[in-house]
């Protein structure tokens, strides 16, 4: 076999060995942020919105979906132009991309999902400042192809959304006795259900500090289950 054919054979091999869409590595991009590398509980990013939008489950879910949408588009678009972005202004470029996407989301919500946009009010705009988004752009999308970037975005926003939903579950349940607005413990003003027996809502649960406590307990349980996450220094 001549050298040339060896080279061609090898080239073919490389083409054949192209990663399948959901290779083990790609799957890990989605599953990692859900547990071992969760953006909120392990990387401690995006805490601000975890404190602010978790009083009601509905708002937490809508916020998670909005972040999912923005992060996927931002990751993919930054990944597409990653080889064109001048190194010195890359953060500003990322910021412009994220800001533009957030404004688009806000405008579209205002036009077609007016009630949802009212529900989220200022929080949509605050997605721009969500550290998870800038963090993923800088750490992942700048150095990877669009498809893995999209998976990374899905994984991270799901990891973020999961914590938001869990926190809001406890806050809404114990803060106002409701889940998704449905009364679980009875009606507080009419004193029915649990309230008739003297139960009272915990006002602290409606305030941001309670999220810190819940997130801390979450981290505690997570590290109890997976001791490899405990930092030893």
């Amino acid at each position: 076999m001549s050298e040339q054919t060896v080279a061609i054979e090898e080239k073919k091999k490389v083409v054949k060995e192209r990663e399948p869409l959901f290779s083990k590595k790609n799957k890990k991009l989605i599953t990692d942020p859900l547990d071992e590398n969760n953006p909120i509980t392990i990387q401690v990013l995006g805490i601000c919105s975890a404190l602010a939008v978790t009083v009601q489950m509905k708002a937490a879910v809508v916020m998670s979906v909005a972040v999912l949408f923005v992060l996927i588009l931002a990751n993919v678009s930054v990944s597409l132009i990653r080889n064109l972005i001048p190194n010195r202004i890359r953060i500003i470029v990322q910021l412009v991309v994220v800001a533009a996407l957030v404004i688009i989301v806000d405008q579209v919500l205002k036009a077609y999902l007016f009630d949802v946009s009212k529900e989220l009010s200022v929080f949509v705009g605050l997605i721009i400042t969500n550290c998870i988004i800038m963090g993923r752009l800088e750490a992942f999308a700048l150095g990877n192809k669009p498809w893995p970037s999209a998976l990374d975005a899905i994984g991270n926003s799901l990891g973020y959304g999961m914590v938001l939903v869990i926190v809001s579950f406890f806050k809404e349940l114990f803060g106002s006795g409701k889940l998704f607005g449905f009364e679980i413990f009875g009606n507080a003003t009419e004193q029915t259900g649990l309230y008739a027996m003297g139960y009272m809502d915990n006002g602290l649960m409606l305030l941001p500090p309670s999220s810190l406590i819940i997130v801390a307990v979450y981290i505690w349980i997570q590290k109890l289950r997976n001791p490899s996450l405990i930092e030893t220094h």
Binding site: V55, P86, V93, V96, I104, Q107, V122, K171, G175, L207
Partner: protein, 252 residues
């Protein structure tokens, strides 16, 4: 020829191209969606006006546009003394027009609240409504909560004594706390409360929850004190004008 991505020229041109593309895209989207957004806002205002009338709580935003003139018979702008401003009494044969400054519907209360400090020179729009032969006056109110604006629409009975219904809303009060003012349990407390004591105006008090209430008091939101105070303030500041108008009307 490879482009030197670290050169100043490349960096600046990249920035310019990016900004032009992004700016153009955003301008296009904003312009394209504006008519739909404006219609949403108009319909929401119509819905709020209708929702505070007795028995109309269920009217949705989409329905509000078409049934608005069935209920709102006249629109009028008052001055601070409760007198009708010239040419502002429009009946429902005149089509709603956001641009017509004589149309009560066009008054931007938030803008006036922020820019006109002297409340005597503000406009006071009023909607005169008819539900099953009974006249109600719907008065918009505007004030501030903890974070940003709070506003509402108050339906008053034909004698100007009693509140027949309210709708409150807010720009960005805290969900679960101040934002609760837009919930039925808060709004419905106002029904039947009085604003008049022997023909003199007496304002509604929004109290700390859990205390016994008289005819001029309602429960505030626990944890939403600033928002509750805002509701009380905007009602006492604004309703006095409408009270004057309705009382004068009934005298003559």
């Amino acid at each position: 020829m490879a482009i030197n991505k670290d050169s100043n020229t490349y960096t600046i041109s990249f920035a310019i191209v990016l900004v032009v593309i992004v700016g153009g895209l955003l301008a296009m989207i904003a312009n394209g969606l504006k008519p739909i957004q404006d219609e949403n806002l108009m319909n929401e205002k119509k819905q709020n006006i209708l929702n505070c009338l007795p028995g109309n709580k269920a009217i949705s935003r989409d329905e509000a546009g078409s049934v608005f003139s069935d209920f709102v018979k006249q629109r009028v702008i008052l001055d601070y003394n409760g007198k009708i401003k010239d040419n502002t009494l429009l009946d429902n044969s005149v089509e709603l027009n956001n641009k017509n400054t004589n149309d009560a519907f066009s008054v931007d209360l938030l803008k006036e609240y922020k820019t006109i400090k002297d409340q005597e020179s503000r406009n006071y729009p009023l909607y005169i409504c008819d539900v099953k032969g009974q006249t109600y006056y719907v008065a918009p109110v505007m004030g501030k909560g903890l974070w940003a604006a709070v506003w509402g629409f108050i339906a008053l009975d034909d004698l100007g004594n009693k509140i027949s219904g309210t709708v409150f809303d807010h720009k960005s009060e805290t969900p679960g706390l101040g934002a609760e003012i837009s919930q039925d349990f808060f709004e419905d407390q106002f029904i039947g409360k009085l604003i008049s004591n022997n023909n003199d105006f007496k304002s509604i008090e929004v109290n700390k929850p859990g205390n016994p209430l008289n005819d001029y008091q309602v429960d505030g939101i626990s944890g939403g004190t600033f928002t509750s105070v805002g509701v009380e303030e905007m009602m006492s500041r604004t309703l006095v004008v409408y009270h004057k108008y309705i009382k004068n009307l009934n005298k003559s």
